[in-house]
Symmetry: D2
Subunit: 236 residues, 4 copies
């Protein structure tokens, strides 16, 4: 993005923020007491070059996710990954629904390396990898009931794409009753501008956009999750 | 079930039906124009002996499902299977939610032969096998949006168990706006009585319980699904 | 119900319980730390005589709900009521979906006294009365996100009907990740037998059926909900 | 918005579209055969000046909605309105969930004139007005099952706000399996820029943004909905 365009966007955001704040928008939802990490679509089709779904900025996003995982796992919080993949990518019985009428999801075949989580941020054996069919990590999946059964009240969101799955997931998160925290350095997309304006919209209305260092500091200060013998959190 | 007990159940059903019909319950939802077949949990843990989840009556259920598949596939209608399976069957990160606190779902490990669909009624390559985590085939899955994108208005339901997943799926089906038809000979369970009383409740309030021959006759008379080049049904 | 039929049902339940327990079913989900009371369809059409939806047993159910409310309100837990009512009860634009094809929901007109909560158990000004369109209190409503935002982990369920809305609500509750406790004396129906067999199915697979006195003892021992200035529970 | 900023946005959109089209995004989902009109939050708090939720552009939006209603009603298609309103706007039992931690939804009290649909586009007696609690018209409401039971395959979306409820509704619509058509002249917001970039994101990934005249032409050419005596559409 050129400096001119960046300046133009900042100029709109500034004007809009003036209106929002006068009217009582752009509040802080804040961190809760029981977070989970939710990594959206950090699978090879998105994190590696050369694919229709490839995104930019992985030199910053991947290390940010590594640090978040290290901090979160140290406290025993749930770490959840999503990928988007389809069992049937042609014909009437497809699980793509209508989405292939807008974007090339027919390239995301279940069981291929492209839709596997990037090994640089590989899930541990007991961490959930949810295969979703739509943009939101919540839509048509067990994510909400998983988090609910686990006593989670806050979702720390990373991944791609900002204009698609990250945005829809964040909107659904607060709708479901989870505090959404979007990590500024850990989200990305494949076209210029959309990260900026979607973070702006989210921070104005749906969740808090926070810098990585602040999220790490929050995780570092968090008490480890205590669990009873059945695995249920004690303080939930 | 002894004859005495069977007679007692029939006696209750008869008395209850009198009340229901006086009050305007036990209506017929009827068959629609665009059916799909939904086979609930006809995987080996349920269809073969020797498992905690094993069910009775497979000598009748399996042939019934075979005939339904043959009739439905001849008309190009969607055929959907479900199984219940978990990626993480112990510890705090389980996808079992709270259900293992009631029933032994920790025995249903994703990727094992036990949770694969019984090969006597094997899905075709382009038929959906939905892995669900809860009793209902709709809960936390993409089934509703799959059916909706496919123009389906009627779900013909088979499988097990009647007191669990078949019942909950049927209730959700009419709630979602699909006409539920439960095939009497194609549903089962693992304990006596529950098939009878759950079919009674369903037929009274949630869907139509129909004999296999009537469902086959409906499928035989159905016009084949016409689709355009994108796979979308033409008449939807 | 005659003694013979009651004996027959108990005989089936006993035989089934033997099988269930051998196989590891009929476990206890137990009480959690943050309950809510959910009263299903205790509106006049169900609680008063003379309506197609009238149920039996209100001489026991209403006092039980009164005692639960008193105990729950003393601890500041959420109390939620549902009713079932429709804005448009004829024609193509009805919000009844397909349900009027099974039961006479066209008699439940939004805004009439019939669908108002029975004044003997009237909600307080700040208690939610959720108007639902389907059997489950969760389906197509904000109940799950309300409970989730409120930190609730357990739902204590009362009301009617056992074979319809109470059953479906209980199934959805555990699916969503809430511990369902069904209060034996506080649930009912309009035809004989269905209370017994639905409580049996639920206790075997979906939630714990508990006597009123035990639920009251649990509520009495509960620590009052502490909240911060925003109304959020402190311990969630 | 100044000409400079408008030019900057168009410059980004143009660059992004180049990338999207090279990669196979920005496809057309197209109109289906069975549309419904969905008007998002065109209630007085949003359509009239002087409220925290007031939006701009009603001199264009209201006439556009009037024309769409006239065209749609002439063909007997469903017309659905939403509003956002809360029964309890303070304290722990609020139905606002967590949303008041971001935006001033405590100003939207159920039953007040502010949350009633603007009388210039008043619903007919048999048209649904859905009270939602979250941004999406689908979240926690019966909209999906209403549309599904009605055989709808396409949702024509109008209203406000573009950065909030219209965006989230559109994302959910395609996720649920409905073809989303957003009417360019019939959507708005309260801050500059957000209409443009959200329409851009939607048209790239989630639904088709179409000019009013094209949507009106589609409705004019549509065959009237034929219904059987029960109100069910004949061709569904």
């Amino acid at each position: 993005m050129s400096d001119n365009i960046e300046a133009a966007l900042q100029s709109i955001f500034s004007a809009d923020s003036g209106i929002y704040q006068t009217r009582g928008f752009q509040r802080r939802v804040g961190f809760g007491r029981r977070p989970a990490l939710i990594h959206i679509d950090l699978a090879n089709a998105w994190t590696r070059p050369g694919h229709a779904f490839s995104c930019d900025g992985m030199d910053v996003i991947i290390p940010a996710v590594q640090r978040l995982n290290e901090a979160g796992r140290a406290k025993g919080i749930p770490v959840v990954y999503t990928t988007t993949a389809y069992a049937v990518t042609s014909g009437p019985n497809t699980d793509m629904g209508l989405w292939h009428h807008k974007i090339p999801v027919e390239m995301l075949q279940l069981g291929t390396p492209e839709v596997a989580i990037d090994e640089r941020i590989a899930p541990l054996a007991d961490e959930q990898v949810i295969v979703k069919k739509r943009a939101s990590a919540f839509h048509g999946t067990y994510l909400s009931s998983f988090l609910n059964a686990n006593g989670v009240d806050t979702v720390i969101i990373t991944g791609v794409t900002m204009a698609g799955c990250v945005r829809h997931t964040t909107e659904d998160a607060i709708a479901e009753g989870f505090r959404p925290i979007v990590v500024r350095e850990a989200v990305g997309d494949r076209v210029p501008g959309v990260v900026e304006w979607n973070l702006f919209d989210i921070d104005s209305k749906f969740g808090d956009v926070e810098p990585l260092e602040r999220v790490l500091a929050y995780l570092d200060e968090l008490a480890p999750v205590e669990r009873d013998e059945s695995g249920s959190p004690v303080s939930a």
